[in-house]
Symmetry: C2
Subunit: 337 residues, 2 copies
DNA sequence: CGTTGCACTTACGACGTTGTAAGGTGGTGC
DNA sequence: GCACCACCTTACAACGTCGTAAGTGCAACG
């Protein structure tokens, strides 16, 4: 039903290629011809067929964004930022969710569903360092996050260790000494959890504060409910603490709720700091002090790197780059200076 | 670089079409041949070229989802649900944001960026009833939301009036009589704001409670900050109130924060109810009583309707359907029964 | 041993677009 | 009035896939 170049050409009385030239702003078209063709285009409501264009050019103008899930605020806000940045390059974004499941993550990398994209931005949560080799795919790929290092692809990460260290130092500077940490993943040596834990440890060591293992609370996931559970367990353990460091904002917010329910005042009795600076953090009661890990900049660099790889036809990057972005402690009510 | 049917055919010593038949599980292929072709496919790592397939078939397997913005939790969770549902139909989702800007909304409807999709699910926020005619596009379109009614397209909405009425009745049943409403859009007669206001009015009237205009607070947008501002204005106005109905959860949460800052106890002094049932609502302090408008079901029906329209080649629906989904009051701490 | 029929395979073209190279048209200068 | 050049337009092919229709070979049957 839709009009094609052929239809327009027939109506305007020119060849198909001349219409194509008009559509693509090819310079050598006589004004009178251009006008006539444009009239035919308008009359028929012609729109280029992008599938045909993709086939011809080998580019689809689509990039993939592979995320654990959209209902986690951090990823929703990251997706928003990626879409915005992609748009400025004239690209459109397909979002695929993996549910943090390793098998689904691997499936997405080989799936024909992603075959139409020009490249993919991938934030794994189920795969680990051992899977690094599987990232050697034959399409442009930019990796986000801390699950895997040294893979054969470009990589953009936040400065987890430094940022977590800064968060902990901030609490120490405010006079807190019994700082609980929520969200540890004891079995990992890489990944956000391990790196942020490392920053926490570094800060304590540097300040001469001994680390009490009873204050390091693991959780399986990083949702609010996990933070709430961990806070409950922490309270029940009887360990004394005057601050809580949630390894992400959702954990911190979940913990904050339980702490308040238990009658503790925030920040007087317990200071709380999070990590991610999701929009909600500033509207919580009390507002949540947290680390802004540079989400906007991550999205921007990831898209820019991907566009660059797409542009250079070289199949695999000879020089995979690893970039980190700046972070910042956002001081709010839950942990004042 | 990528292998094509041609490459596979050459390697397997068969024709291109036979390879195609293998790929597409065409039944009449001799097992021995199939095996040989499959081996060649595996060896070359052949993946079908989706652009070519799209061109040939006229279907891209992509649907568009046009939303105001992803960083609003309601839309993020809606997007998540749409992606999940689309996946079950083998479809992939492109997300486009409009920022609730009418011009951008109109632009998206005619944009070549959406041309590659088989159909679009569209949630307008800037366009209004006067623009209904502009929805007569030449691709399958399913409309979400309450900005426009009676357009030439399928339409899925929540039951705004009934749900808002139920929320208000719930507060009335709990003994509240001075119920403030936050988020009104006085200039509208359609749209979520107007409809939910109508439900509120209906409930008050039915209960014989007179509506005090001083308790109906307008906001421009529906973000947390707007809810906070409106609550501040409400307090400063000096009007007495014992409950707040936020026309969405973000407004209610923003208001709840300000109410608590002002020393009011929730729910003792002021009961608060929201609308949307975003995930965050159950983790707020106190947890937010709200209306679940049936988001999952909306996503499901929208995708199903779209798939149906895509399937039937009829250009325009002769019988645009308008579906509504079930809602439910989620009773939590901010407004107990 | 030829014919028929079936199971399998193939050649061809078209989907709509654009790069290439060749073709046409008008105008300019002598 | 002719040649030439610059400008504009065209025909053709190809991107990779799959539907159509036309083959091919083999087995069974007469």
């Amino acid at each position: 039903m839709a009009a094609t170049l052929h239809d327009v050409a027939q109506l305007a009385g020119v060849s198909i290629k001349t219409v194509s030239n008009v559509v693509n702003d090819y310079p050598h078209v006589r004004p009178a011809t251009r006008e006539r063709v444009q009239a035919a285009i308008d009359q028929l409501g012609y729109r280029p067929n992008l599938s045909a264009r993709s086939l011809r050019s080998g580019r689809s103008g689509v990039i993939g964004l592979v995320l654990p899930e959209l209902s986690l605020s951090y990823f929703a806000e990251l997706a928003d930022a990626v879409i915005t940045q992609a748009e400025s390059h004239g690209l459109v974004v397909i979002i695929e969710r993996t549910g943090a499941d390793r098998d689904r993550e691997l499936a997405v990398l080989t799936s024909p569903r992603m075959r139409m994209t020009d490249g993919v931005i991938f934030s794994p949560l189920g795969m680990g360092q051992d899977d690094a080799g599987l990232l050697a795919v034959d399409f442009p790929l930019v990796l986000l996050g801390e699950r895997i290092f040294g893979g054969p692809v470009d990589h953009v990460t936040m400065r987890n260790i430094e940022a977590a260290r800064a968060a902990t130092e901030f609490l120490l500077a405010a006079g807190r000494r019994r700082i609980a940490l929520i969200g540890a993943h004891p079995d990992e040596s890489l990944g956000s959890a391990a790196l942020r834990l490392k920053g926490y440890e570094e800060a304590l060591t540097a300040a001469g504060v001994s680390l009490d293992p009873a204050l390091v609370r693991p959780t399986t996931l990083w949702h609010r409910s996990n933070g709430a559970e961990a806070a409950r367990a922490l309270i029940e353990s009887g360990a004394a603490f005057d601050a809580v460091f949630g390894l992400n904002d959702a954990l911190a917010l979940g913990a904050m709720r339980v702490l308040q329910e238990s009658g503790r005042r925030i920040p007087e009795d317990v200071a709380v700091i999070g990590f991610d600076n999701i929009e909600e953090a500033q509207y919580a009661v009390p507002s949540l002090t947290t680390v802004d890990p540079g989400r906007e900049q991550i999205a921007q660099r990831a898209v820019d790197l991907l566009v660059q790889r797409i542009g250079s036809d070289s199949s695999r990057p000879a020089d995979p780059s690893h970039e980190t972005v700046a972070f910042q402690v956002m001081i709010r009510e839950s942990a004042p200076a």
